[in-house]
C-alpha cells in the first residue's frame, strides 16, 4: 500500500510506558553514551586544530620532511579522524544499536498489525 500520507496509526499507545521500559532505557543509554562523548571528542579535536592554526602558526608551519608541514599533516589527520569516526559509528550501530532498535520496533508494531 502506498503511504503517501504516512500519518501515525490511531494513537492509543501508552508512549510513556514504552519509554520507561527497561529495553527502551537500555537502547537510549547505548545511543547517548556513544554519540555524546564522541561528539565532544571530534568537536574538541577540531577546535584544537583551529586554535593551533590561529594561534600557533609557527608550529603549524614547521616542516616535517620536504615541504610537508605539521599543519598539513594535522589537517589531513582531521580527514582521517572524520572517516574513522564514521566507520566506528557504523560498526557501533550495526552491533550495538540496530538489533535492539529493530527488535523493539517489531514488538511495538506487532500489536497493531492483523
Amino acid at each position: 500500500m502506498s503511504t503517501t500520507d504516512p500519518s501515525p496509526p490511531p494513537d492509543v499507545r501508552d508512549w510513556e510506558a514504552v519509554q520507561s521500559s527497561p529495553e527502551f532505557q537500555d537502547l537510549r543509554h547505548r545511543l547517548r553514551s556513544f554519540i555524546f562523548p564522541v561528539t565532544g571528542l571530534f568537536l574538541g579535536w577540531y577546535l584544537l586544530y583551529v586554535l593551533c592554526a590561529t594561534y600557533a602558526p609557527a608550529f603549524m608551519s614547521a616542516k616535517l620532511w620536504g615541504n610537508i608541514t605539521v599543519g598539513l599533516v594535522f589537517g589531513l589527520l582531521q580527514f582521517v579522524s572524520t572517516f574513522a569516526i564514521t566507520w566506528w559509528y557504523m560498526r557501533f550501530t550495526a552491533r550495538r544499536f540496530d538489533p535492539l532498535s529493530e527488535q523493539l520496533r517489531e514488538e511495538l508494531e506487532g500489536g497493531e498489525r492483523k
Partner: protein, 544 residues
C-alpha cells in the same frame, strides 16, 4: 591577454555547447523519472522516500558541493595556501554532527520539512511559522549567493561582460531550474544532483591525478613548486595565517567562522530535507556515510588542485584573470587539458549552480506550502492532497523569480559573505532548536520560539552592523571595502557572528524554556523519543 576576454584560452561557444548538452540530458532524465511519480505531496517533496542510501549520499554531495566550494576553495588555496584548506576541513567535520546527532532521529520524527520535527511536541502553528521563517531566510541567503555567483561565472567562462548579458544568463539559469523543480519535483531534482555530483567528482579526480602525475606523485615537489611560483608571499603558503593571521581581531573572526562552518551544516534546511528522501533511518545513516566519503575525497582533490593551480598557473596569472581566485580551477584546467577540459570544467561549474539552486528552491517551497500554508493558514485541513502541492509549485515559481531578480541585483556582490551568513543562521537559529527538540525533555514551545527567532535576529543584526556591510577600510584607509561604501555604522567588530550568536541562541532556547509558564508535554516527548530511536510508525517508501 585582455581582461574583457574572459579566461585565456576559453572558447565560449564550446563552453555553452557542453553546458547545453548537460541541460538537455538532465531535462530528458527529469521528464522520464517524473513519469513514475504519483501526484501526492510525498512524491513532490521527498520522491516518496524512494531513494537508496548511496543514491541519496551522492545527491547530498551534489547539493552540498556548491560552486563556492569548488571554485572558491581551490582558488583560496592557490592564492592563500593553507588558509583555504581550513575551510574545507570545517565543511567536512560538520558532517559528523549530522551523522551522530541529527540525520536518523530527524528521519524518524518528520516527513517533509524541518518544521515537522521542531513542531512535533510543541504548539503547531507558532513553531511551524518560526521554522518556516528560518528555513526561508537560510535558503534565500544561500540562493542569492549561488545566483550572484552565476553572474561572475558567466563573465569568467562565457565571455559575457555586459551587465545585461549576464542578467540574461542568470535568468536562463533560473528558468531551467524552475523547469526541473516543476517537472521533476524532488525526484527530478535529486537525479540532477546525482549526475552533477558524479561529473564534479570525476572531473576533479581526473585533474588531481593529472597534476600529481606531472610531479611524479610527489606531493612535496608540488608544494615546493607552488611556493617557488608564489614569489615573496610563497613561503607563507604552507602554513596558516596568510589570510587570517593579520591581527587578534582577524584571528577571532576566523574562529567564529570555523564554529559556524562546523555547526551550520546540520542546520541547513536543504540538507535536512534530503534525509526524508530515503525509506528508513538506516538508509539516512548510509546516506551520510556516503556523503562523508565523497565530500572528504573531493576536498582532498581541491587541496591538490589549489596548490596545482598555484604551481602550474601561478598567483600572478590568477589575480590578473577576471574573477581572480574563482578562476584558479578553470585556468588550471586550461593549463592541463586545453580548451576542451576548460569547457568541461566550465559546464560542470554551471551544472553545480543549477543543481544547488534547484535543491534550495524545492526546500523553500516545501516549507512554505507544508508549514505555512497547510498547517498555519489552513490549520492542517487542506482540501485534498493536491492542493498543498499546487501551492508548493506556485511557491517554487515565485522563489525562482525572486532568485533571478535577487541574483541580478546581487551580481558582483561578495558571495562568500552570503554563504557565511546562511551557515551562521543555520548554526544559530536551527541547530540549537533541533538538538533541544531531540534530546531535552523539558524543551517547550516558548524555548523553540526564543531560539529560532532570537538566533535569526541576533545573527542578522550582527551582520548588518558588522564591517562586512559598512566601515571596512581598504589598504589606503578609504571606506570602500564593505558592501555599502563610504559610510561607517558598524558596531560589531567581527565579519562572522557565530562566536556570539551560536552560544546566545543556545542560551535563549534554555531561558525561553525555563521561564515559560507552559510546561513541555511529557507524553509527546515520550512518543517523539520512542519514534526517533526505533522508527515506529515512520513513513515507508511509496515506491513498490
Amino acid at each position: 591577454m585582455t581582461l574583457a576576454a574572459g579566461v585565456e584560452g576559453s572558447n565560449p561557444a564550446l563552453n555553452i555547447g557542453i553546458f547545453l548538452v548537460f541541460v538537455i540530458i538532465t531535462l530528458v532524465i527529469v521528464v522520464r523519472v517524473s513519469k513514475r511519480a504519483t501526484s501526492g505531496a510525498s512524491d513532490f517533496y521527498t520522491a516518496g522516500g524512494g531513494f537508496t542510501g548511496p543514491q541519496n549520499g551522492i545527491a547530498i554531495s551534489g547539493d552540498y558541493l556548491s560552486a563556492a566550494s569548488f571554485l572558491g576553495i581551490a582558488g583560496a588555496i592557490a592564492l592563500y595556501g593553507y588558509d583555504g584548506f581550513l575551510y574545507s576541513i570545517g565543511f567536512l567535520v560538520a558532517w559528523l554532527v549530522a551523522l551522530l546527532l541529527v540525520a536518523e532521529l530527524l528521519r524518524n520524527t518528520g516527513r517533509f520539512t524541518m518544521g515537522d520535527v521542531l513542531a512535533f511536541r510543541m504548539r503547531q502553528r507558532p513553531v511551524r511559522a518560526a521554522a518556516a521563517t528560518s528555513t526561508l531566510a537560510v535558503s534565500f541567503f544561500y540562493l542569492l549567493a549561488q545566483m550572484a555567483g552565476a553572474g561572475g561565472l558567466v563573465a569568467l567562462l562565457l565571455d559575457v561582460t555586459s551587465k545585461a548579458g549576464q542578467s540574461l544568463v542568470i535568468a536562463v539559469v533560473g528558468v531551467v531550474m524552475i523547469a526541473y523543480v516543476l517537472i521533476g519535483g524532488m525526484r527530478g531534482t535529486t537525479w540532477v544532483q546525482i549526475i552533477k555530483a558524479v561529473l564534479l567528482i570525476v572531473g576533479a579526480a581526473v585533474m588531481t591525478i593529472w597534476v600529481l602525475a606531472l610531479y611524479g606523485f610527489n606531493l612535496s615537489a608540488l608544494l615546493g613548486d607552488a611556493v617557488a611560483k608564489g614569489g615573496e608571499a610563497g613561503a607563507k603558503l604552507l602554513g596558516p595565517g596568510a589570510q587570517y593571521g593579520k591581527s587578534a581581531l582577524t584571528k577571532l573572526d576566523f574562529i567564529s567562522l570555523a564554529l559556524a562552518l562546523v555547526l551550520g551544516t546540520a542546520g541547513l534546511p536543504h540538507i535536512l530535507m534530503r534525509f526524508y528522501t530515503v525509506p528508513t533511518a538506516k538508509e539516512a545513516r548510509r546516506s551520510v556515510q556516503w556523503a562523508i566519503g565523497l565530500i572528504g575525497l573531493f576536498y582532498l582533490f581541491t587541496l591538490v588542485l589549489g596548490y596545482g593551480a598555484g604551481a602550474l598557473v601561478g598567483p600572478a596569472a590568477i589575480n590578473a584573470a577576471p574573477g581572480k581566485a574563482n578562476s584558479a580551477a578553470p585556468l588550471l584546467a586550461y593549463a592541463l587539458g586545453g580548451t576542451v577540459l576548460l569547457g568541461l570544467i566550465a559546464a560542470v561549474a554551471f551544472a553545480t549552480i543549477l543543481a544547488v539552486v534547484a535543491g534550495l528552491t524545492i526546500t523553500a517551497s516545501a516549507s512554505f506550502a507544508h508549514d505555512i500554508y497547510a498547517n498555519v493558514i489552513k490549520r492542517g485541513e487542506v482540501d485534498g492532497k493536491n492542493e498543498e502541492v499546487k501551492v508548493a509549485r506556485i511557491t517554487a515559481v515565485v522563489i525562482g523569480i525572486v532568485a533571478i531578480l535577487g541574483g541580478i541585483l546581487a551580481n558582483g556582490q561578495n558571495i562568500a559573505f552570503l554563504v557565511a551568513l546562511a551557515f551562521a543562521v543555520a548554526a544559530s537559529a536551527n541547530l540549537p532548536t533541533i538538538l533541544y527538540s531531540l534530546f531535552w525533555k523539558r524543551f517547550n514551545t516558548s524555548g523553540a520560539l526564543w531560539s529560532i527567532y532570537g538566533g535569526l535576529s541576533i545573527t542578522v543584526l550582527l551582520i548588518v552592523f558588522s564591517p562586512v556591510v559598512s566601515g571596512k577600510k581598504d589598504a589606503n584607509g578609504n571606506l570602500t571595502a564593505s558592501m555599502i561604501q563610504g559610510v561607517d555604522f558598524h558596531l560589531f567588530p567581527l565579519d562572522n557572528p557565530g562566536i556570539v550568536s551560536i552560544p546566545l541562541s543556545f542560551l535563549l532556547g534554555y531561558l525561553g524554556t525555563v521561564l515559560a509558564k507552559e510546561k513541555a508535554d511529557p507524553a509527546r516527548y515520550a512518543e517523539m523519543e520512542v519514534r526517533a530511536l526505533t522508527g515506529v510508525g515512520s513513513a515507508k517508501a511509496s515506491v513498490h
